[in-house]
Every structure is written in C-alpha cells, then in structure tokens.
Subunit: 348 residues, 2 copies
C-alpha cells in the first residue's frame, strides 16, 4: 500500500543528511513509501541528487525556517509556524501525509503535534511510547518524557493506549500491562501509582493488568507494557542506554587490555559479538510515537544516524498500516461506553 | 583500630548462612573487626563452629524473633522490639556497636533506624545512598528508595549528605554534584527538581553543584554524586541492574549459540571476560547507607551472598573509620550557621 510520510528534514544533530539517507534506506525496505520532505531546498536538492528513486518518490516542500534544538516549546509553537517541523505536522492534519517523523526538539514537536492534531477523545495528554529490548522479547514503555507530572488518571490512559500499541508493535494478542513502581506489593509507591493501580483493577476494559513491576522486571519480560510517568520513564530509558554503553565500552576495553590471547579470542568470537551488538543496537529501536493524538507523529532520537532514522520511518509506516490510532480511538470509546453502562447499572 | 559491628543474622534471603560466611570473609580482609551477632543461637552456634577465629571475635546475642521479609514497616516497628534487626540497631544507639548491617526488610530497617537513632540536626529524612559502577569511576547515587515523595528541601539535604559520603567513599576531595532530571536545561523537570536546583545554586555551602544531569550522564561520570528522589532512584538502580543482567545473559547466549569457533574464542578470551565480570560484580557494590541518622546503619541487598555481605560490612567499617556521620553533622551545622549569618547580614 502506497503511504506518504512527512519528514522534518531539518531536525536532529546531523540533519538534513541523515534524514535523506534514512529515507533512502527506508525506501529500500519498503518501496511503497512516498515522502514529503520539509526543509531548505538549497540543501536538500544536492543531497537528493544521487538518489534517483528517492527523488522520484519525494516532493520537497521548501522552507528556510527550522526549530532550534534548544528552543522553548512555547516559543517554537508561537514563532515556528513556517518551520520544517510544523509543516510536517500540518501535513498530517491536512491529510497530505499519513504520518510525520522528526528527529528535532522533542518538546517543540510535542507542543506542535498536540496543538495541530489535538488529543483523542478521552485522552488528556499524549504520551511518548517506544519498544525497548528485553531478555526474551521486546517491551513497550511509556511515557518516555512527554509528561513529567502525572495523575493516576493519566497513567490509566497511558495503560489503555500502551496496550493497543503493544498489540500492533509486538504482535501480542493480549499484552500484559504493569505499572512501574519501587516494589511489587500493593502498598508500595506513592498515591499516584497506587491510584492508577486501583483504576486499572476496577476498569471494565479487558486489560490484562498484572499490578506493579520493578525496574528489574522491565528487561525480564514480566509484562509486555510498562506504564510510568514521563519523569521516571525518561530517566529509566537513559539509565538503560547509559548502562548498555558502559558495558559495550568495558567489553572493548577488556579485550584491548587483554593482550594477544584476548585479541585472538576476539577475532574468533567476532560473529558472536556481532550478533550481540545487532541485538541491542539502539538504532533498531529508534522511533517513539506520541500516543493519544489525532494523527501519527514519530519522534526519532536526535543523535541517530541514517539506519536509526530509517527505523523511525518504519515505525511510522507500521503504525499507520495497522490503524493503531483508529484502534486506540475505538478502545477509548468502548471504555467510556462501558463505564457509562456500568455507572447506569449501578445507579438503577 | 578495633571496631565492633552489629549484624542482623536473620535478615536476607539466605540468612543466617550468608551472614556468618560474610563475617568470615570480612574478618579475613579486616582482622580488627569484632561482631555482635543477633539471632537464633541454636542456628548460629553450629554455623560458627568451624570458624575458630570468627567465634573468638564474635558475641552471639540470642533472640528467637526476626522481621519477616514482607512485614509492613509500621508493624515491624510496633511488634518487632525483640527482633534480630531491632537489637542490631539498638546496639548502635547504646554504643555497643559502631554500626549495624542488615540484609532484611528495607522498610522495616529504615523505620527502626529512624525511630531508634533519630535524624541528624537539619535533616528531615534519611536517604539511602550507595556507590554504583561508572564508565571511568564509581558514582554515589541517592536516594535509592527510602523516600518515594520528596520536596526540594529534601533533595537539597540529600545533596549535602551525598557530597560528604562521596568524599569518604570515593576519596574525592571536591565531589561534583548533579540533580537527576529529564534534561540538562534549567527549565526541564518538575517544580521539585527545579526548586532543589535553586536551593543548591543559592546555598552558601561550598558544594560543587553542576546542575541537572540525565540518565545517560550517571555512568558517563559527568558528576560524582547523583541526587534524586527515592522513587526515581530505586527505579534507576533496578533498571541498571536489569540491563546489566540482560547483557550478561545475552553475551553468554551469543557464545553458546556461536558454535565451536565462538567457544574457542571464549576460552581464549576468558581472562578478559573475568576482568569484566569482576568489574561489574554487583556484590562488590553491595551495601547502601542510611544517610542522615545519628548512627551508621548499612542495608545489604537481600539476595546477596557471602561475598556481597562482606562488602556491606566493609562499607560500614569504612564509614565509621572515616567519621562520615560526624562530618555530615559538621557540614549541616556549618550550613545552618552560614545561612543564619547570611540572613543576618542581609537584614542589617
């Protein structure tokens, strides 16, 4: 199925180069893709020149403006109406693109997406969700940083959205959902997580809620969806990244300082190392979705490369093709209807 | 210098065995240690029997009662006056032991330590601090789970205590202190972290405050002390543990499935792997201190073994020998005096 994705060509540390190269890679894997490329055409034209196929399937929409990496979201929202990021989000609203992908300023992208696309009925705040590697299989974690302050109701809504997201992204029929906490006992944590647990336990939605999970459970695969506030989720994501980077560098160091014997061992074991490196390659997990909006917007890591940006494009395409948003809307609608019925039944 | 440590012999998953074996190991490394061993003497006597030296330097204080691993802290506090844990904490209060070490129920230990020993002047709440591995060198992180809800003032106090702790434990003259947040920009985060940053910036204490740090900065060594609330700190600690465990198991798997070549490579590289394993051995980092109390109480991981328990004993001994608590008291006192002077100067 032909699918047009709007790309913010000017967002990210190495834009627009990695955006164009990412689109080239994405197209190789998914030839049905079409792109709207928003950005400075004087820089984009020469980058596209060597790629005949991409050029054919891409329309450049010129704008000289871009959102600065350190811009305040509110400022970007007010002053950035002609930026490449804003135009990419507008294209989703107007139906010109099925989804937008940006590696730019997260806060600005969130503010623009929320302002332009509005939140889904029943959702107060969008949440950033992504798939992360686990011991046995990947796990969906949200919110990864869109909302630093959350109420129990917000966490409940994240759980509902995350469950649908996991069905699409992990291809699990009945995802198990857990709330991230400092322990698994019912009394643990603060009022917000305990309140969210109560809402999930009482909910009429057919969610497989498994209660509280701890940090160690995330990679252990105790659940398929880990729900938390944006502060904790963002720290958790980056702690995991940092720990992984520390291991990789320590592994390299141990071999470098291990003399000839270690070097020979490394050469022999290289295919095994390559398997390992591939499995945990952060670029393969790149692309977080803003769940809860009337439209698909995917945030790529700002420091990623072409391979990572291509992964974020693939996430966007996958979400659109699986009608994820439509399913979240239906789920939230079913939730409100069921709760209304339950309330009526209780009242009568 | 001879030093008596009170041990809760009945706390932890494999107590009292690992407590006795941990004491044997600790004594090998630090022959000046003496122990008060609180617990069921009918179980402890036979465990001590084969260890002549430990037996000589240990006094068993019999009690048949122990705190259950899943006991509510308030219940343990009310009903557990004769438990091995409580007697170990009492020994610190009464001066019979210079420090107490327990691998038992964290919440109960915290409640008892706070009730019996009281908090230091200027400290509202004790915090759990520990040293964690980093890329270049270890880092102090607190609070690791004692306080799930924190105010800006609490985080400020944690920073002051953590700085002294780092001077002792990391042997750094001027530790750099950072507040864990979702980004490094001043506007990031919630009111609590932004308020704590303001307090640290305005403080008259000579703390080398480096502002906000992100999850990835913890292992990168951007600062020596990472300050956060107990909810985030606990999740961060366990996410790091989980990620490390995932890596180790994936590494093993990659070699196991890599055929003969990978196996040969593994054998050759084994010394390099052993170096790596040792460096990140969680047991070496075992032992978190409850900072902010009138006495040294160290919490060992409940699932640790003898090597890990010995490390927790060494942490306790190190803290006592370096007069850590005395230094925190002086620091907090200097803080109040300096702030009083500053306020007076401003008023006159």
């Amino acid at each position: 199925m032909t699918l047009t994705i709007g790309l913010d060509a000017m967002g990210g540390d190495a834009a627009p180069g990695i955006v164009v190269d990412g689109a080239v890679r994405a197209l190789e894997q998914d030839p049905e893709l079409r792109f709207l490329l928003f950005g400075d055409s004087s820089r984009l034209d020469p980058l596209l020149a060597p790629h005949a196929r991409l050029r054919e399937q891409t329309r450049i929409v010129h704008t000289p403006e871009a959102v600065a990496g350190d811009a305040k979201p509110s400022h970007a929202l007010r002053q950035g109406r002609n930026t490449s990021m804003r135009l990419a989000v507008n294209a989703v609203k107007e139906g010109d693109a099925a989804a937008a992908v940006s590696a730019g300023n997260t806060g600005a992208l969130m503010a623009m997406a929320k302002f332009v696309l509005k939140t889904l009925p029943g959702i107060d705040r969008p949440a950033m969700a992504s798939v992360l590697p686990g011991k046995q299989r990947p796990v969906v974690v949200l919110d990864l940083g869109a909302n630093v302050d959350c109420t129990s109701e917000h966490l409940f809504q994240f759980a509902v959205m995350g469950e649908v997201y996991a069905r699409v992204m992990l291809d699990v029929a009945k995802p198990r959902v857990g709330l991230l906490n400092v322990g698994t006992e019912e009394l643990k944590g603060d009022d917000v997580v305990r309140g969210a647990a109560a809402l999930l336990r009482e909910s009429v939605l057919p969610i497989d809620f498994r209660g509280f999970v701890e940090g160690t459970d995330v990679t252990e695969g105790v659940v398929d969806v880990v729900v938390t506030d944006g502060f904790t989720g963002n720290v958790a994501l980056k702690i995991a990244e940092g720990t992984a980077a520390m291991f990789t560098s320590a592994l390299r160091e141990a071999f470098r300082n291990g003399g000839l014997r270690a070097k020979l061992g490394y050469l022999l074991a290289k295919p095994a190392f390559d398997t390992l490196r591939q499995r945990f390659d952060a670029r393969r997990y790149n692309g977080a979705m803003f769940l809860g909006l009337n439209g698909v917007v995917v945030k790529s890591h700002g420091g990623t490369d072409a391979l990572g940006f291509a992964a974020a494009i693939a996430v966007a395409a996958n979400l659109v093709r699986n009608c994820t948003n439509q399913r979240i809307i239906e789920e939230m609608g079913a939730s409100s209807r069921a709760e209304a019925t339950a309330t009526q039944a209780a009242a009568s």
